[in-house]
Each structure stands twice: as structure tokens, then as C-alpha cells.
């Protein structure tokens, strides 16, 4: 593994009585693509959201590029600017045009001049294939297009690492591939990625490592091929048995 970029150490969290994260230890190297899979309620989304502190943790530590996650305020905002996040429900700013969605972060959080931010935004929109929709509002685009814009919005901040929280789960089947294609291309370009997904095809094609979670704990970590052909734990065998039979 290359030098670690994101390190989670003994991370614990409860939602009320539910122990959603149990002693999570995970280290993600620069340029590595880690796919997190597991049954629903296993804590994989929560894990993903703790990395940019959209969810707080109760004990343990998380560092990004050697720097511990700040508590609140300006430092936290700065750190989040370096961590891209793509949500299940896209969460594009519904009152702003596609172009303004992509330029908002660079202009406000990075103080990039507007003209420069727009030029870069158009390049990114070109790259994800929605440049011709730049002046429209999010609601006028299809789900797949919205999600690609959301990826462009994250990329505009030149993040060190990108988090994907079930990016294709809210999409119609015919739109899933257009989003996965963009993600595979990103992975090939060397972006560090943490991807929570049910897309086993993506895991096989683009992941360096698969992390399998159940009941809030990491049960198994393996290379994708090894994981899908010969899972070690019974939980993983059971899970794969249920999803791969179709």
C-alpha cells in the first residue's frame, strides 16, 4: 500500500442503543479505491459520513493526510473542502443552475476568481458529459445527469479523497452505468476513493480492496477477486450468496 491518506483508528459510534460503528480500524492509501459493501444497517454509510464529519464519532480518531479531523468551525470547513462527497440523493442545490452548483465551492471556499472557476467547471461538466446542460436547473436533468454533475461539483474542489455514499442506489437501472463509467474513469486517473455501493461489477472492475461490514464492524478486507470468489467469513459468504444468485 502507498502512504496512508485516510486513517480511522478505533472508531466507535452509537445511535441511541444501536452500536453503529464498532472499533473501526481502516487505512486508505493515496490513490487507492476502497469499496465498502455490506447488508443495509451495517454502518457502511455512517462510516463513509464520519470521514468528513457529517457524522460525529464518540471515540477513536480519524486523520486525513496526517491531520486529525477538527471539531467545528473554519478548520473543519477547510478540511471538508479537501474531501469530495457524492450523495445517494445527489443533493444538488435546487435553486442554482448546474454551472453555479459546480462553481459555488471554488468561489466561496477557495476564493477562486469567478471566470476561472467557470472555465474549470465547464471542463469538468464536459468531462462528465453534461456541459450542454450548464444553464439548466437540477430538476430539469435526469437522475444520472444530476449525479454526474454532483461528481463534477466535488471534483471542482480538487479533493484529496472522494467519498461516494451509494451513488447509484437512487438511479433507474439504465442510468447506473453512465455514473459508474465516470467513477471508473476517476479511479483510473488515480483518485483516492471510498465507495459505499451495491454495485459488485464496479468493485471488481475498479476497486483495489473490498471492505465487508456487518453489524457495525469490519468483518473482512480483501482484494476484490479473492473476496468475490473465496470469501473467508461466513457473514460474507451468506451475503454474497444472497445477492449473487440472481
Amino acid at each position: 500500500m502507498t502512504e496512508p491518506l485516510v486513517v480511522l483508528k478505533d472508531v466507535n459510534k452509537h445511535f441511541g442503543d444501536l452500536h453503529v460503528l464498532r472499533d473501526i480500524n481502516l487505512s486508505i492509501g493515496k490513490g487507492e479505491v476502497v469499496v465498502v459493501i455490506g447488508p443495509s444497517g451495517s454502518g457502511k454509510s455512517t462510516l463513509c459520513r464520519t470521514i468528513n464529519r457529517l457524522e460525529t464519532i464518540e471515540s477513536g480518531s480519524i486523520t486525513i493526510d496526517g491531520q486529525a479531523l477538527p471539531e467545528e468551525g473554519k478548520e473543519l470547513a477547510q478540511l471538508r473542502a479537501d474531501v469530495g462527497m457524492v450523495f445517494q440523493s445527489f443533493n444538488l442545490f435546487s435553486h442554482k443552475s448546474i454551472l453555479d452548483n459546480v462553481t459555488l465551492g471554488p468561489i466561496k471556499a477557495r476564493r477562486t476568481p469567478k471566470a476561472e472557476a467557470e472555465k474549470r467547471a465547464m471542463e469538468l461538466l464536459e468531462r462528465v458529459g453534461v456541459a450542454h446542460q450548464a444553464q439548466k436547473l437540477p430538476a430539469q436533468l435526469s437522475g444520472g445527469q444530476q449525479q454526474r454533475v454532483a461528481i463534477a461539483r466535488s471534483l471542482a474542489m480538487d479533493p484529496k479523497v472522494m467519498l461516494f455514499d451509494e451513488p447509484t442506489s437512487a438511479l433507474d437501472p439504465e442510468m447506473i452505468n453512465e455514473v459508474l463509467d465516470v467513477m471508473v474513469a476517476l479511479a483510473k486517473d488515480g483518485m483516492t476513493m471510498v465507495v459505499v455501493t451495491h454495485e459488485m461489477g464496479f468493485a471488481r472492475k475498479a476497486a483495489n480492496r473490498v471492505v465487508f461490514m456487518a453489524d457495525g464492524a469490519i468483518v473482512e478486507e480483501q482484494e476484490p477477486e479473492a473476496f468475490f470468489t473465496a470469501p473467508k467469513s461466513d457473514r460474507a459468504k451468506d451475503f454474497l450468496g444472497k445477492i449473487l444468485t440472481h
Binding site: 470547513a77 435546487s94 465551492g105
Partner: protein
């Protein structure tokens, strides 16, 4: 009716009503936005202060506040907003109190507007590195105002009608003049109708305008 209109400055009185309403509307919108941001902020003390503000001023009779401003604040504490004129001081205090009172309603209208925004919008704003202030200004408030246009319109209409309370401290607005005319002239019902129609002319178009605005500016999701 003709000589009532020629003898008394009915238009001038409604002018005072509009003057009170205009500045109170601006004052309450600004103050209400600040209190609304306090109630939504991540800082507990600010949230408590905001909640306290709303509960105190929303539940205090406006008449009480206006009387307090002149009898209490001006005559006892000496806080005179216009030493050159008694009515000037009264109308300025009326604007202050109308602003303070209606700010609590503006705050709640905005908060209901914020509640129309899916939680993901705030998360996305934070995730791209915006600070609390930036995500408020750029993402949450613009959408909250659009979602709150209808209740804000109701608040503005209530405010226009509530300016009549300023009559109790002698501000020469419409309700004050109406009382004077009814005192001096016969035909109280006609006088009443004139003033009632005056208020309808002020408020009805506003209500229609706000309804159509809220439809046109609604955020498409």
C-alpha cells in the same frame, strides 16, 4: 362623505399607516432573519436566545409593547427618539415596536421555510467546504425565503393592520383619524366603511401578489 374627505386629511392618515408599515416591514424582516439564523445556528446559547425572543415577543400584546415604549421607555427612562416632536417620537417608537413584535413572526415563517428544504442541501453545502454563514447565505436562506413567501405575506398583511395599534400613543395614522372623525361627525358607519375600504385597498393586492410570487418562485425539486 364628501365633506369628511375635504375636512379631514384621510389620505395623509393612510400615508402615515403606509409609512409605519413600510419601515416596520423592513425592520422586522432584518431582525426576524437574524433571530431566525440564531434559532437555526449550531450554537446552543444562540438557539436559546432566539427561542426566548420569539416566545417573549410573540406572546406579548402589541398594545402593551407600544404603550410601554412611550410611557415606560420615553417618559421614565428618557429614551426619546425624536426630542423635537412628541408625535415624531411616538411614531418612531411605534416602528421599533412593530418591528420587534413582527420579527418573531418573520423568524417563525423563515424557520418553516427552512424546514421545506431537504436535509441533504445543508449537508452538501457543508461537504463542499462552506462555513455555516456561507451555507446560510448561499444555499439555505435563498431557498427558505422562497418557501416562506406565503407565510411572510400573511405576516406583512397582519403588520399593516397592526399599525392601527400606534393610535394608542397618538400617532396620526388611519385608525387614529377614524376615531377622531367618528367623535366629531355623524354617520359613523360611513366613516367606518371608508377606512375599512382603505385597508382592503392596502392589503388585498398584497395578498394576491404574494400568492402569485410564491407560485412563481417555488423551488423545483
Amino acid at each position: 362623505m364628501g365633506d369628511i374627505l375635504s375636512k379631514y386629511d384621510v389620505l395623509g392618515a393612510f400615508g402615515m399607516t403606509v409609512y409605519l408599515a413600510f419601515f416596520s416591514a423592513i425592520g422586522s424582516l432584518l431582525l426576524g432573519t437574524v433571530v431566525g439564523i440564531m434559532r437555526l445556528s449550531p450554537v446552543r446559547v444562540l438557539r436559546l436566545l432566539g427561542t426566548g425572543y420569539v416566545n417573549i415577543f410573540r406572546n406579548t400584546p402589541l398594545t402593551l409593547l407600544v404603550v410601554l415604549s412611550v410611557l415606560g421607555l420615553t417618559y421614565i427612562l428618557g429614551l426619546n427618539l425624536d426630542p423635537s416632536s412628541i408625535t415624531g417620537n411616538a411614531s418612531r417608537w411605534a416602528i421599533v415596536m412593530l418591528s420587534i413584535y413582527h420579527a418573531s413572526f418573520v423568524c417563525e415563517a423563515l424557520r418553516s421555510g427552512v424546514n421545506t428544504i431537504p436535509a441533504g442541501q445543508a449537508e452538501a453545502a457543508r461537504a463542499i467546504g462552506l462555513t455555516f454563514g456561507q451555507s446560510m447565505r448561499e444555499v439555505l436562506l435563498p431557498q427558505a425565503f422562497r418557501g416562506a413567501i406565503a407565510p411572510l405575506g400573511s405576516t406583512l398583511i397582519a403588520l399593516i393592520k397592526n399599525t392601527t395599534v400606534a393610535a394608542v400613543v397618538g400617532v396620526a395614522e388611519a385608525a387614529n383619524l377614524m376615531a377622531v372623525i367618528i367623535e366629531n361627525e355623524t354617520g359613523g358607519l360611513v366613516v367606518f366603511l371608508v377606512f375599512a375600504i382603505g385597508f382592503v385597498i392596502l392589503t388585498l393586492p398584497l395578498g394576491l401578489a404574494f400568492t402569485s410570487l410564491s407560485r412563481r418562485l417555488a423551488v423545483k425539486r
